[in-house]
């Protein structure tokens, strides 16, 4: 009788453990619910900490889903007035000092955005994670006192920017707190840490992200969202090439 009780308790524990570990795809959907929106307008500051200097660039951005975005750089003086427009898989940059609009394509997409640890290619990656990667939960870990699921993602399409990713997802708020991006060889390419998670308009959202390109010198790039508004009315002309020169 005693043995039967132990066996039942053990089976129950296994079942409960299985139930408490949600499906990786479910986790990613919850993350996307927090991180994505129909549209958003935000102002941000990007502090690039190089080996020799540190620079802060501020900008104002408008985006609709993951397909359209428009960014205008506000400071410093050298970057002021530079604008960037992304429509689907095309990207243009407008330089006010030359009055030229240049389309960024090919190998130029691998260049750094304003000297940061982010590349234009990173900016262009607008597909849902569940469309690009097969995910599975591989464990859990505490990050800054918060329990996280560890998700291993492996690309299921050939044109993914990174072959695999590892994500640490807050188990309660469903926002990523850390991410590592790997090449096919297994080489770690980039590390991202997300913090200052706030509840904004009913969703949890990290307002500070530190990007570190492992292959680049320097201490990384801190991207801080100073103001953000979701689901705003954004005039359609913002997302046109003509808006770049205005």
């Amino acid at each position: 009788m005693k043995k039967k009780i132990i066996a039942i308790a053990w089976l129950t524990a296994i079942c409960l453990a299985g139930m408490s570990q949600p499906d990786a795809e479910e986790i990613l959907k919850k993350v996307e619910k927090n991180m994505s929106s129909d549209n958003r307008v935000f102002e941000s500051s990007m502090t690039i900490r190089g080996n020799r200097t540190s620079r802060t660039i501020t900008s104002r951005s408008f985006s609709v889903g993951n397909k359209k975005s428009f960014t205008e750089y506000l400071s410093p003086a050298r970057e002021q007035g530079t604008k960037m427009l992304k429509l689907e898989n095309q990207l243009w940059i407008y330089s006010p000092s030359t009055d030229r609009t240049i389309q960024i394509s090919g190998h130029m997409l691998r260049q750094s955005v304003m000297g940061s640890d982010l590349s234009y290619e990173d900016m262009m990656d607008d597909r849902k994670l569940t469309d690009v990667y097969d995910a599975k939960v591989s464990g859990d870990e505490l990050i800054d006192g918060r329990k996280t699921y560890i998700l291993d993602l492996v690309a299921k399409v050939t044109d993914a920017a990174y072959h695999s990713r590892k994500m640490w997802i807050d188990t309660e708020r469903f926002v990523p707190l850390k991410e590592e991006l790997f090449a096919r060889s297994g080489q770690l390419l980039k590390r991202t840490t997300l913090s200052d998670v706030k509840q904004i308009e009913g969703r949890w959202f990290p307002s500070t992200v530190v990007y570190k390109d492992i292959l680049k010198q320097g201490e990384g790039t801190e991207f801080r969202i100073t103001t953000i508004k979701f689901n705003q009315k954004i005039p359609e002309y913002i997302f046109t090439k003509a808006a770049l020169k205005q």
Partner: protein
């Protein structure tokens, strides 16, 4: 006696004409080949020095480690002070700041849209200051095909071939799309002042020459420079002096292991140039040595033949009572005269042809298509002091040694058998 021998040589053409012609040809080829090889090797080194490596180059340690990528994010920040320091410490050298950069050149159409694009390799150098010698050093003024030299900020020179690819003409606007010192995207407009032909496949493919202040503006490098290059005032690369200067400069900061400490490298310490400098010295000497040996053998053989041809004459002279030693010495005196005459005439002709190649050059551009290293398209000889006496080694020494060896036979002749030999 010398006068007597000289008259004999002049009157008996069979003793002088052919030997002198053989010596002249041998010496001429030796002189010409040495000057040609020296010119070819030396010109390639100087061309690389002028455009890229300098005779010595000062840059940060981090830049030096990745020099082939021209990492301007690791540039010398306080370039003015480093330059002043170098001018004080090394007055025997001329110093110049340079920024090498890469990027895309985008040529717009009348609506400002991209008309054509091409990858470019750029050099920022002092084009506009009053005392600059950089345009002269790179022979820019003589290389202009269309347009003119930049006269104000914002004007650049591009290679004629590149201008054809981009379909731009002097006066047209082009946009450089590159990377600033901080790694962000650099977009900067220039006006094409002129086009030039470098006579070098690598540069002609896509070179842009701009004033260094414009490049600083474009790449956000205020007060900085990628590299400071030094040239010996003699104008020629001296590997030993360059290595000594580099060691002297580097000893100043040897205790500082920081990656942005300025370091100096000689041309031979940069990239594959060391191999080329060594190869150049080695090949000049090796080829000259092989050629001198070959010519020596030919002239030695000529000396031997001359001695054998005069077998009968020597027999008669011995039969008439002339001493064997006297006959031997006169043969050597004659060969010395032939050697001197042939060497002088041969050196003269060799120098003349070398001078022609030095002045007009030989165009080998057809062979350089697709080259990835900087080699001159026109090969020129280089007349160095050594070629004035080099020809005398095969011309004089070999001829005399040949005669000395063949002349040993004189001592083996038996006087008792001379008449029998002569009857035969």
């Amino acid at each position: 006696m010398i006068k007597f021998l000289l008259k004999g040589l002049i009157r008996d053409k069979s003793r002088s004409r052919l030997p002198v012609i053989v010596v002249v040809l041998g010496v001429m080829l030796t002189v010409l080949m040495h000057a040609y090889i020296k010119g070819f090797m030396g010109e390639a080194i100087e061309m690389n020095a002028r455009f890229s490596y300098g005779h010595v180059k000062v840059m940060t340690r981090a830049y030096a480690e990745n020099m082939n990528q021209t990492p301007n994010d690791m540039a010398l920040l306080d370039a003015g002070n480093v330059l002043s320091d170098l001018e004080n410490r090394f007055p025997e050298m001329e110093w110049a700041q340079r920024i090498q950069f890469g990027g895309l050149i985008d040529a717009p159409d009348e609506n400002g849209e991209t008309k054509s694009q091409g990858p470019a390799f750029g050099i920022g150098l002092d084009l506009l200051s009053e005392k600059t010698v950089e345009p002269e050093r790179l022979n820019l003024i003589n290389s202009i095909v269309r347009g003119k030299m930049p006269e104000k900020q914002g004007e650049v020179l591009i290679s004629e071939l590149f201008s054809g690819k981009l379909k731009v003409n002097p006066g047209d606007r082009i946009t450089l799309i590159g990377s600033t010192m901080n790694g962000s995207m650099a977009i900067h407009n220039f006006i094409v002042a002129g086009t030039l032909s470098f006579g070098n496949e690598l540069l002609d493919r896509g070179a842009v020459i701009a004033d260094i202040e414009d490049v600083r503006l474009a790449l956000d490098m205020s007060g900085a420079t990628g590299e400071i290059i030094g040239f010996f005032r003699s104008g020629f690369y001296d590997n030993e002096s360059a290595l000594e200067s580099a060691a002297r400069f580097n000893s100043i900061n040897s205790a500082d292991s920081g990656e942005y400490v300025p370091v100096m490298q000689s041309l031979s310490q940069q990239g594959s140039m060391g191999q080329y400098v060594n190869m150049s010295d080695y090949w000049v000497n090796y080829i000259a040595f092989v050629f001198i040996i070959a010519m020596s053998l030919v002239l030695w053989n000529a000396g031997l033949l001359g001695g054998l041809r005069r077998y009968g004459e020597i027999g008669i002279r011995l039969a008439m009572g002339e001493g064997k030693g006297h006959v031997y010495r006169t043969l050597i005196y004659e060969s010395v005269m032939i050697g001197i005459a042939g060497s002088v005439i041969g050196t003269f002709f060799g120098l003349f042809f070398a001078w022609l190649i030095q002045k007009y050059g030989i165009d080998i551009s057809g062979l350089m298509k697709g080259s990835s290293i900087m080699m001159p398209s026109v090969i020129r000889a280089q007349i160095t002091p050594s070629v004035y006496f080099l020809g005398f080694i095969p011309g004089l020494v070999s001829t005399v040694i040949g005669t000395m060896l063949s002349g040993i036979g004189i001592y083996k002749r038996q006087t008792a058998r001379l008449f029998k030999e002569l009857e035969a």
